[in-house]
Structures are given as structure tokens and as C-alpha cells.
């Protein structure tokens, strides 16, 4: 029985997904305001770590880091609607890459499990 990460294609799949996902995030007016002034390389590396985690890949996910990393954005109004938008764009990215619906649901569930940490509650 293969793991989610293996089914999705491992590290090369993360590499393929990160550009598509990041483009969708930057192009989406619901959330791109939070990304206006960030260093694009650093942001892409963070998104890669996030995608690896929600793909079920090797990670050292820390709720504490996630809270600290987003606290400034929460103060600027980051809320459930923005998390929903990110999960939606994640699904659209995977769809574009031809991932099965069952696996997309599993990735979305993993992403959703970070919600309370991201929103610091």
C-alpha cells in the first residue's frame, strides 16, 4: 500500500506543484495582498515546505512555527475565508497536475489540519 506522498510523486511532484500553486496565490485578489512585500524566493521555499507537509512527505511540522509565522498576518485580518481560498487553490493546482479526487481530498484534509495553528487560536 503506497503512501499519499508516493502516490503524488514525491519531491519532483512538489517541485512541479510549487510554481503553479504560488502563481495562483499571487494572482488571487482574495489573498495576494498578504504577499505584496515578501521576498519571492523565501516565500517559494516556505510554500515548498508547506506542500511537502500536506502531500504527506518528510517534514518537521511545528504548530508553534506556523503560529509565529502567521501572527503578523492574523493581526492584519487573516481569517477562515483566506485559509479556505488557499485550500481551494491547492485543490486546483493538484487538479491541473492530474491528481485523483480522493488524493486531493486527503491533501485538503492535511492542509485543513493546520487551520487553527495558522489562525493562532
Amino acid at each position: 500500500m503506497s503512501t499519499l506522498y508516493e502516490r503524488l510523486g514525491g519531491a519532483p511532484a512538489v517541485d512541479a506543484a510549487v510554481d503553479i500553486f504560488y502563481r495562483k496565490v499571487l494572482a488571487d485578489d482574495r489573498i495576494n495582498g498578504f504577499f505584496d512585500s515578501v521576498d519571492m524566493e523565501k516565500q517559494a521555499a516556505k510554500q515548498k515546505a508547506f506542500l511537502t507537509m500536506v502531500f504527506g512527505g518528510p517534514n518537521a511540522y511545528s504548530g508553534k512555527d506556523m503560529r509565529e509565522g502567521h501572527r503578523r498576518l492574523v493581526a492584519r485580518g487573516l481569517s477562515d475565508v483566506h485559509v479556505d481560498a488557499v485550500i481551494e487553490l491547492l485543490g486546483a493546482t493538484l487538479k491541473e497536475l492530474g491528481v485523483r479526487d480522493e488524493d486531493i481530498a486527503e491533501v485538503a484534509a492535511l492542509a485543513n489540519s493546520t487551520r487553527d495553528d495558522v489562525l493562532d487560536r
Binding site: 519571492m40 523565501k42 517559494a44 515546505a49
Partner: protein
């Protein structure tokens, strides 16, 4: 036998232990996050033999300069980790020419008194005898020229500009530190279109990178866009136009807002309109932060690959 030092201090490391955990155990406040070699939060620089897996995902330029990811680095031999921002030894230079390239741009040529190795497009910091320090991109080419050349924009009340245009003479001694930065030509891009975009003295690194690409046998087309506020700011335009006539595959696109060039002279727009296939090309974007960030983001959204979007932002001194 693995051994580790940080900032010249020995740090204990166990067999099969990674560098990040050894540094943290020794009380070094090393930034980190994913601990899986992905997020690059712990990116550091070292001298010594760096295992291949500790450089996965880094650019060739970063690899050459000893950058690595401590969280996935299990050293096999001695490794010297450098403290971030370690200041390099200063190199003394003698001024060999100071002249105007444009009404607000001075060209400064200096001969290093000791070997000073660099790649065209990197930058250095220049220090005056009274302690004023500013960073400038290097415009010269080390194999073609014995001098190190900088293009210095004169700003109203700019300390360095005033010093250079009013007090500096040929023969004077200055100090430089560097080189710094990873904004230079990568031979892996040899067959790609190379798009060089500079505003104002953002042309300085491009002048070096362009000649570096040509001397290293670049085979793809090269397009250089130079934006200036006034026509007189289009310095080196004769040299660039001559090169464009001589070298097949090289185009020079000067832009002056409202009066010259495509897209009514808006260099950012000219690039976006002039590059129909952003995903194929490799870019160097140099100049003020507004322009560089705007063009970089727009090119990425149109399909350009982030590691091939190299940017150098010129910040005014605070």
C-alpha cells in the same frame, strides 16, 4: 572524520549528527524551521567539503560560494561554518580614473593592490577614508580589464557621490570589501534567451554580465533593456549599439519614459510586451525596488521560472 567549527570556535558533533542540531546544542542561535532541507530558513555558508544533499535546491551560484542547508548536512570531514554577515578583509585599491558617463552618473575605475577575484554582476562595498560605506555593483570584467569599475549615481546630498565628484583624485587610495551576491551569469543558461533589464545605474552589473555571457560562449539570443528618465541617462549607448550591430543575436533596447523605445519608453512594460515566452528565458533585473519587484512578479505570473529570475535591487542609503 567529521569536525565542526562555527565562527572559528570548535563545536562538538557526533557521527551522523547534522550540523544544525550540533549548532543548536552548542547554544548557537541558528535560524531554522522545517529541518528537512526544504524551507531554506537555516541557509548558511561554510568552507570545507559539503555533502551534495546539503546543497539540493540551491542555485549553482550559491553552491559555488559554499552555501548549504545545515539541517540536512552530515559532514564527512572538517567543516568551517561562517557567521552570517562575516565581513571579509578589506582590499586596498588605487583610483585610476574618475569620469562622467552621464550628468548624474560617475564612472570610477580602481586598481586593486592585492588580488581581487569576482564575477561580473557581483557587488562590493566601497569605503571612504572618513568611514562612509556604500554598496555598488561591479561593471568590469576581470579577464578583460585589470581595473574594477563602478557606476555611481549622484544623488542630491549623496555623501559618496559628493566625495567622489568633489574630493577624489587619480592615485588616491580607497578600501573595498567583497565581492558579494549571486547575481551573475550561469553557464547552465547558455542556450536560453538571456534578458537583461536595468534602470539607471542598474546597467552597471548588466554591462559586466553581458560581456561575461558573450565571452563564455552564450548561444541563445540576448536582449538588453535599459531605462532612463532622460535621454542623457542612457549611458554606454554607443558601445551597446555598436555591439548590437556586430553581434548577431544581441539586441539593445533603450527606453526613455515618454520619448524613446517601445511601450512609450516604460522599460518594465517594454519587457513584458517584448518577451512573448517568459518561461524559456533567463533574466537579470537590476535597479530600484519598485521596478524590479513589479517586473519580477509579472514575469513569474506569466510563467518565468523563479530560479532564473535573478534580481538586484538598488537601495538608496538610509
Amino acid at each position: 572524520m567529521a569536525s565542526l567549527t562555527f565562527d572559528d570556535r570548535p563545536v562538538p558533533i557526533a557521527p551522523n549528527q547534522d550540523v544544525l542540531s550540533a549548532l543548536l546544542a552548542a547554544g548557537v542561535d541558528a535560524p531554522h524551521s522545517c529541518r528537512a532541507g526544504i524551507c531554506q530558513s537555516c541557509l548558511s555558508r561554510a568552507e570545507g567539503e559539503i555533502p551534495e544533499e546539503a546543497q539540493r535546491g540551491l542555485s549553482n551560484a550559491q553552491k559555488e560560494q559554499g552555501y548549504f542547508l545545515p539541517c540536512v548536512c552530515v559532514p564527512k570531514g572538517p567543516l568551517k561554518v561562517l557567521r552570517a554577515g562575516t565581513s571579509l578583509e578589506a582590499t586596498e585599491v588605487g583610483v585610476c580614473a574618475v569620469d562622467r558617463l552621464a550628468p548624474t552618473v560617475v564612472r570610477l575605475r580602481m586598481e586593486p593592490c592585492a588580488p581581487f577575484a569576482y564575477r561580473p554582476g557581483q557587488f562590493l562595498s566601497l569605503e571612504t577614508p572618513d568611514g562612509c560605506v556604500r554598496s555598488y555593483s561591479i561593471a568590469s570584467h576581470p579577464e578583460e580589464e585589470a581595473f574594477v569599475e563602478l557606476h555611481i549615481r549622484l544623488l542630491p546630498n549623496g555623501r559618496m557621490g559628493q566625495f567622489i565628484s568633489e574630493r577624489l583624485s587619480v592615485g588616491d587610495r580607497l578600501a573595498v570589501r567583497g565581492p558579494f551576491g549571486t547575481c551573475y551569469y550561469d553557464e547552465a543558461d547558455r542556450d536560453r534567451p538571456l534578458v537583461l533589464v536595468g534602470a539607471g545605474t542598474g546597467l552597471a552589473p548588466l554591462w559586466g554580465i553581458l560581456r561575461d555571457a558573450l565571452s563564455r560562449g552564450h548561444r541563445g539570443p540576448i536582449r538588453l533593456y535599459h531605462g532612463a528618465r532622460e535621454r542623457s541617462g542612457l549611458y554606454l549607448s554607443e558601445e551597446l549599439a555598436a555591439l548590437a550591430r556586430e553581434r548577431e543575436g544581441f539586441s539593445y533596447i533603450p527606453c526613455v519614459l515618454g520619448s524613446l523605445g517601445p511601450a512609450d519608453g516604460d522599460v518594465g512594460k517594454a519587457v513584458l510586451e517584448g518577451e512573448p515566452q517568459p518561461d524559456a528565458a533567463s533574466y537579470f533585473l537590476c535597479g530600484g525596488g519598485d521596478l524590479v519587484n513589479r517586473v519580477k512578479r509579472a514575469l513569474f505570473l506569466r510563467g518565468a521560472h523563479l530560479p532564473r529570475l535573478r534580481a538586484d535591487i538598488f537601495l538608496p542609503a538610509s
